[in-house]
């Protein structure tokens, strides 16, 4: 009883640590709203106000966004968040941070069930709570974090229902799996593979209550029909095609290199081996193994600034040792559960292997779960060692690494990666607000892409008005979004928001700096003959 109470206290502390890392300065770190976050927020605001997205579609299942057709779950999670907190950075990031914090409880429950060890559950929860990878995506408006939460919920309920079958548990499990599929594109591939694997692993047990599976299976297939149809439509494939690793020009280039630079007697092979199925499979395998790169996982992370600290790995370097011990400790885990952990580990990189670039932290976020469980297994094994030095080293490594990460996250990150988060747009809109009443036309540079959505967001522009006036990314109301080559000299008197480096024939009004004091834009009055 005392042990159970102690474990509960430790779990609560771990959850509090996780909440701190996910919520502290959430509005201002990451600095600025990335354009995907902004369009999530404004579309949710538009749905909240009008029932339509900002393109005018009523209660859309799929959101057109910037033409990349996003999935619905995160948008609809944002509606209550924006209703409560208003249209701001905190509201846009709240669902991700909240579900990221809840994921800590779920990994504890899942890990405890898989390893049959309460302490391993606590260790796994700790490693997720302090995980740089998971924290990074919990602090932004990322769909993947929400999808991971639903995936964990579905997996845990599935394991519970295998032990004590009940239709409600099975149905809940399938619904959570379905929600993960509707959350993020990568889960359209990962979740079905995981479910098939779970069914295969437990097929003998499932046969005993197959009648209880029929109704949930029919319901979930019905619910997944829209996304199945969507996945084969041009809109559903647009994102995958744009990011696909299967490019004809690369095949031709590789064939040319082979023909020109290989040994002459072997060149006859060129016609046989350079065909699409074989070559594309080779490309996919290369992308797959990139996700297991030790440099990516433990030292340098994803080189995209929004996805990692860049100066450290996706997870802590000391976890390399823990994972090795964790892999060794898998032999003490029940066989079926061991297979689940290994299967989850092996199928996690599959969604990212067919698109570029690789490795990609966002598309392989699900890999954090088996890694946290393995780290938990390894830490538990080391911490139960009789060697006092090892028992001191483990917590020392955790504390130092976590403090070092905290320093990078809260001190360096807002300054170093401001540009990656489109920082400066809020300040731009604030400056426009000061001058806009004096002008009938406002021209804004689109050098940093889609400025229109930032104006809509920070002006809290009436979505109904935007829709009814057929607003677009080129213009709405008195705002026009132009390239730097556009000639505005004959447009009359107007306010022009130009890139900071551009020299404009007009009267300089104000500068726009981001939070790291970089000069991003300048406001000019153009066309005033006085």
């Amino acid at each position: 009883m005392a042990v159970a109470r102690n474990h509960l206290i430790i779990l609560c502390l771990i959850i509090l640590i996780g909440i701190f890392f996910r919520f502290y300065h959430l509005s201002s770190n990451p600095p600025g709203l990335y354009w995907d976050e902004t369009v999530f927020g404004y579309d949710a605001y538009s749905v909240f106000k009008t029932g339509r997205d900002h393109h005018g579609r009523f209660s859309p299942i799929f959101f057109e966004s910037f033409g990349d057709w996003k999935l619905p779950v995160y948008h609809y999670l944002l509606v209550p968040s924006i209703a409560v907190f208003g249209l701001n950075e905190f509201a846009v990031r709240f669902p991700s941070a909240f579900l990221g914090s809840l994921s800590i409880i779920l990994i504890y429950l899942l890990s405890k069930r898989l390893t049959n060890n309460n302490k391993v559950g606590l260790w796994s929860a700790l490693f997720l709570a302090i995980s740089p990878w998971h924290i990074q995506f919990s602090r932004g408006g990322f769909e993947s974090t929400a999808g991971l939460f639903f995936l964990l919920s579905g997996s845990y309920l599935f394991l519970r229902s295998v032990e004590k079958p009940a239709i409600i548990k099975i149905l809940s499990s399938f619904i959570f799996f379905g929600l993960s599929i509707y959350s993020y594109h990568a889960y359209r591939i990962f979740t079905p593979l995981l479910v098939i694997s779970l069914i295969f692993i437990f097929h003998k047990k499932l046969k005993k209550f197959i009648s209880k599976l029929i109704v949930p299976a029919v319901i979930i297939i019905f619910l997944l029909l829209p996304i199945i149809v969507f996945s084969f439509s041009s809109q559903g494939r647009s994102r995958a095609i744009s990011q696909s690793v299967f490019k004809d020009d690369q095949l031709e280039q590789t064939r040319l290199d082979f023909d020109q630079k290989s040994k002459k007697p072997l060149r006859f092979l060129s016609g046989y081996i350079f065909n699409k199925p074989l070559f594309y499979s080779y490309q996919a395998f290369k992308g797959y193994f990139d996700s297991f790169s030790p440099v990516f996982l433990f030292f340098r992370g994803d080189q995209i600034g929004r996805h990692s600290q860049v100066d450290m790995g996706q997870i802590y370097a000391f976890e390399l040792i823990l994972i090795i011990f964790g892999l060794y400790s898998l032999r003490f885990v029940p066989k079926e559960m061991r297979v689940i952990i290994i299967t989850w580990l092996l199928i996690s990189p599959i969604p990212s292997s067919i698109v570029t670039p690789t490795p990609h932290a966002y598309r392989t976020l699900q890999l954090i779960i088996p890694l946290a469980i393995l780290s938990g297994l390894g830490a538990n094994r080391l911490f139960t060692s009789n060697n006092i030095l090892i028992r001191l080293l483990v917590p020392a490594a955790i504390v130092f690494s976590t403090l070092s990460f905290s320093h990078l996250l809260f001190v360096h990150y807002p300054k170093k990666f401001a540009a990656d988060w489109q920082d400066g747009y809020k300040e731009m809109v604030n400056q426009i607000k000061k001058y806009q009443n004096d002008y009938e036309k406002i021209y804004v540079t689109n050098i940093n892409q889609v400025p229109y959505i930032y104006l809509l967001f920070y002006l809290k522009y009436d979505p109904q008005k935007f829709i009814s006036e057929n607003g677009s990314r080129e213009s709405f109301d008195k705002y026009f979004f132009i390239s730097d080559e556009a000639d505005i000299s004959n447009q009359g008197r107007l306010l022009y928001v130009a890139p900071s480096w551009k020299k404009v024939d007009g009267k300089w009004l104000a500068a726009v700096n981001d939070n790291s004091s970089r000069h991003i834009y300048s406001l000019w009055e153009v066309g005033n003959k006085n």
């Binding site: 590789t254 290199d257 082979f258 020109q260 630079k261 290989s262 040994k263 072997l266 092979l269 081996i273 074989l278 070559f279 080779y282 395998f285 290369k286 193994f289 990139d290 297991f292 790169s293 030790p294 440099v295 433990f298 030292f299 340098r300 100066d311 370097a317 390399l320 892999l327 060794y328 032999r331 403090l403 070092s404 320093h407 990078l408 001190v411 360096h412 300054k415 170093k416």
Partner: protein, 203 residues
């Protein structure tokens, strides 16, 4: 289709003969890869540059207030030096680099051998594993060509041990043959040796 391991297990001289055939196939494929590297004019550099440590410390400290205790604690030559040295060392264990050297079949054999190390204590396997750890360290210090060949030999040796320590079952044989074919294709696709070589030509 699940292949039960005990459908087909070789024993005695047939087992030894089959193991030697597999070993020769591995020698063949590894020799082919060695021959491919003969066209390499400039091998990839794994050397650690000590200047990287100083640059890292100074660039990190630009984001901290001056004379800040946290900056000195987290960004110093010891911590950054250890981190960068470890990162440099583990570059040798990039999956795509290992596959580039020993192919899918070699990596399969190495993973098999690793699981055997976890389960049984075989001195030769431990020595072969230790050889890999030492030769990957040599990559960061010594001449590129020699240390890379040395590293490749350590990986090949470890792969060979898997053949001789494994039971030859139908499942093992099928996986081995399949991966061998994939390895040949992979070696042909990566004729440029992008993971190992900066400049290659046979003309």
């Amino acid at each position: 289709m699940i292949i039960r391991q005990d459908i087909f297990i070789l024993y005695g001289r047939w087992e030894i003969k089959t193991k030697f055939i597999f070993a020769f196939l591995l020698i063949g494929i590894f020799s082919f890869r060695f021959w491919q590297t003969s066209g390499c004019k400039n091998f990839r550099n794994f050397h650690l540059n000590p200047l990287e440590v100083k640059i890292s410390v100074e660039s990190q400290r630009t984001f901290d207030p001056t004379n800040n205790l946290a900056a000195k604690l987290f960004h110093n030559k010891i911590a950054d030096g250890f981190f960068i040295t470890s990162q440099n060392y583990f570059q040798a264990f990039e999956p795509n680099l290992l596959i580039s050297i020993v192919g899918f079949v070699g990596v399969f054999c190495m993973i098999l051998m690793l699981t055997k190390i976890f389960r049984k204590t075989t001195l030769f396997a431990y020595l072969a594993a230790f050889y890999i750890l030492v030769s990957s360290l040599a990559l960061t210090v010594f001449d590129q060509r020699v240390s890379l060949y040395n590293f490749a030999v350590s990986l090949y040796l470890f792969s060979f041990t898997a053949i001789f320590y494994s039971k030859i079952t139908l499942r093992f044989a099928l996986i081995f043959i399949f991966l061998l074919i994939l390895t040949i294709l992979q070696f042909l696709y990566s004729w440029q040796l992008p993971q190992l070589c900066n400049e290659i030509s046979f003309n």
